[in-house]
Symmetry: none
Subunit: 259 residues, 2 copies
DNA sequence: TTATTATTGACTGAATGTGATTGATTATGA
DNA sequence: TCATAATCAATCACATTCAGTCAATAATAA
């Protein structure tokens, strides 16, 4: 159990980093009542360390500049964020999950930090480094050779270690998804690692923004049948929808709301 | 029975290390009453050595602008930098080296970036993440469980993978070096990993600033005999010098020039 | 020895931190 | 617009922790 000072420090740090947080989120993260979080937030607001909103709080600095400007500037990033948020909703307290390396799965890391009990396997040095300050998350790295292009750990060491592990859910990125050629990625060794990931998970959740559709790259690492759930960000072809439905792949389309 | 000054020193040291402590825990640890601990804590707070909370105390945040503190930190960092620079001088183009996790070996990462051909094995997610933009450096991560306290990957996965590898030189940090108790570290699992590192390297180079001397922590991972070269930053006891010489351990002392 | 001082532990009423409750307020969407 | 759900501030009750007081003990000096 944390002291209130510690909790407030962490809340402040969290909001500085993520720019915002909801009361509910913080309740779950620190396992205290709403009353406590509200008290903390109002005290932090008194100290001008954050700004209170209905339902949560936001960082002080984000009050200063127009949020819409920067948010719109990085629409691509927002799409990946949306996909990640949806993906995170399938994670439950106590789960053992696998998170593939790559930019699509990266926002997922921020979404899982407030879980109070989670085991995360990841072959990304960036992902694991971001989790180094979340001691409640058990992080396991399968090791391997660092591919500088993708910052992923790949190769025989990775595959061999992964084959000793089993996870509840695997969140996997892909460079291409195509009805006839399945899931593909440009690198042979990386494909092998992704294949191992798929085989070691009870549930396979693939994350892919719309740019990956009907794209085929060099090395195949999986079929449509291997996927249990597919999360993307834009209305996709009817052909994909019906094929996914027919093969029992659940399809999540997270639409970016225009304003 | 301890004198109050001794007890306060120990309380301060404990909180510096663990960042927090409860009154209850300190009572049990020192076998004194709550009143005594509370008195100690308020005196330590008066001296700005910790921050009091309800139920205990926490370490002073690093957001401390007291000049002496930052100066000390700078100096400490400089010493580690010097040790790292000296350590890097033993690396040759084309080498396969192992770099242990920890703050002492961290500056070494910056020193090796200019090599045009190097294979680096490291069990630190921070170290490997820093090398992600140096494509000419082949980085191999042995994987394992992330210890949040030290950002090191440790455990059976790490040990098993390491035992499949062999390196020319291993740069290893330590928490304590003592003539009779050898090399020690507070964590048993970390000790096991360090032991494996030593066994898989042709040459073992230990990096330790002066604060580690004559210090013994919980778990032993090596003897003086295991070391080939020892790099430190301050004139050490004659006892160490002669013992090292006798056992064939090369000793490098990198002195910080005062200005 | 005795006197003096510092340290400690026990005690007590006060203060603090927390969760639960409730009726009021605010946001959201039909 | 209104209805509904979410969120809020205010309040209470309970447990924990606190500061302050005082007597007992230990260390030190006369």
């Amino acid at each position: 159990m944390l002291y209130s000072e510690e909790r407030k420090n962490k809340i402040h740090a969290y909001i500085e980093k993520h720019k915002r947080a909801s009361v509910q989120h913080l309740c779950d993260a620190f396992n205290v009542s709403e009353s406590t979080i509200r008290r903390d937030l109002s005290e932090l607001e008194q100290d001008h360390l954050l700004r209170r909103t209905h339902g949560g709080a936001i960082a002080i600095e984000s009050v200063n500049f127009e949020p819409t400007v920067t948010e719109k500037a990085d629409r691509f990033q927002m799409e990946k964020q949306l996909i990640a948020t949806r993906a995170a909703s399938y994670i439950q307290e106590g789960d053992t999950i696998l998170i593939d390396a790559g930019t699509t799965t990266l926002p997922l890391i921020h979404e899982i930090k407030h879980f109070s009990s989670l085991t995360v396997v990841t072959n990304s040095v960036v992902h694991s480094e971001l989790l180094k300050d979340s001691p409640q998350i058990e992080v396991v790295v399968p090791g391997g050779r660092l591919r500088h292009e993708t910052q992923a750990l790949v190769g025989p060491i990775t595959d061999q270690t992964l084959s000793l592990l089993h996870v509840d859910k695997a969140f996997i990125g892909t460079n291409g998804i195509d009805l006839s050629d399945g899931l593909t990625t440009p690198n042979l060794i990386e494909a092998s690692t992704k294949r191992t990931m798929i085989s070691q998970s009870s549930e396979v959740i693939v994350l892919a923004d719309h740019s990956k559709f009907e794209k085929v790259t060099f090395a195949k690492f999986g079929d449509i049948d291997d996927i249990h759930r597919f999360i993307t960000d834009e209305q996709v072809d009817q052909a994909f929808v019906s094929e996914f439905h027919q093969r029992g792949v659940k399809l999540d389309i997270v639409l970016l709301q225009e304003d």
